[in-house]
Symmetry: D2
Subunit: 108 residues, 4 copies
Amino acid sequence: MPFNALSELAVFLRGFAAERGWEQFHSPKNLAMALNVEAAELSEHFQWLTEQQSLKLDEKQREAVALEMADVLIYLVRMADRLGIDLMDAARRKVVLNTEKYPAERRP
Amino acid sequence: MPFNALSELAVFLRGFAAERGWEQFHSPKNLAMALNVEAAELSEHFQWLTEQQSLKLDEKQREAVALEMADVLIYLVRMADRLGIDLMDAARRKVVLNTEKYPAERRP
Amino acid sequence: MPFNALSELAVFLRGFAAERGWEQFHSPKNLAMALNVEAAELSEHFQWLTEQQSLKLDEKQREAVALEMADVLIYLVRMADRLGIDLMDAARRKVVLNTEKYPAERRP
Amino acid sequence: MPFNALSELAVFLRGFAAERGWEQFHSPKNLAMALNVEAAELSEHFQWLTEQQSLKLDEKQREAVALEMADVLIYLVRMADRLGIDLMDAARRKVVLNTEKYPAERRP
């Protein structure tokens, strides 16, 4: 099951939760907590590394980090689905705001 | 600038950081911290709500939440880009592992 | 109101919440979320600093950091009070476990 | 080793880190990350519980939660020590600010 878009991942996760009777646990409040926990598990891999070391993970570390990042993405997509939020469009709106807030010194 | 895929967002963010001279700050370690901060800002919207209330946000709350979710996605995509990780493929691998770990009681 | 012990701070916070009708919001679950948010606000001060810079805060930064650390302590003490947990004794128990888990190479 | 005050815990933790050669890892930046991770591990115990359930932990859960809270306290005290911050006095200053910011409707 390769996912070509976040919307496909959202549909998969909806089914995954439904099959396991997990919808009752998946309030946006609870999903926000779970997302925080996964973000912390991700940063745990980096807490005692220097910034330089964090750029040079070995293959085993890199795969562990990739799976933690996947957990963050999974809860983010699941939460957006529960709230009816289009994540890619929210990213577009946020990027517009950031471009206004932080003008580039010089544009290439 | 609509983004059709996470890879397009990654390319945009790479340019955004480069134009502002931010690459020096964007070590995976620092990006992991920033991702955590954004995840916490997201959950701040929900901390005093009941689970029921978290399902019924008004339009203003929903847009604020959508923009915080966008911040999480932006740092996640930026971090994956710095580490050379394919997020969508990592999600696929993680979903395979989750399906093995949590077998559905009955499949529909 | 100087606090001589965590137990005095706990009593103060209990009264503070009661006077404002906040007990209804102070479930351990919600306090855990609030504690996470404060921990993230604390780390936000450090996210773009190098480790060296984080050791040399100026007076203004140091006071801002001190007040964020106070917020973490306040929610931690409030949560312990709601759960009937003695924090200082829990720290003692944890320190015993850590000493077993991480034996010192050589003791001075 | 019972701890009668946070300052005693700070002195113990300073020796504990020194004996293990951990000072090099204990920059305020790294300790802030570690504090966040522990705060998230604490909230992980509550993420799928209702608020009501979070008030009624059984003995095993309560001890696990107590030890996670101890971890948060330990990193908080260690970080304050590295920054030369007096946590109890910072809590006093923060409580003064909170009392101004949130006046009680009626004082008993």
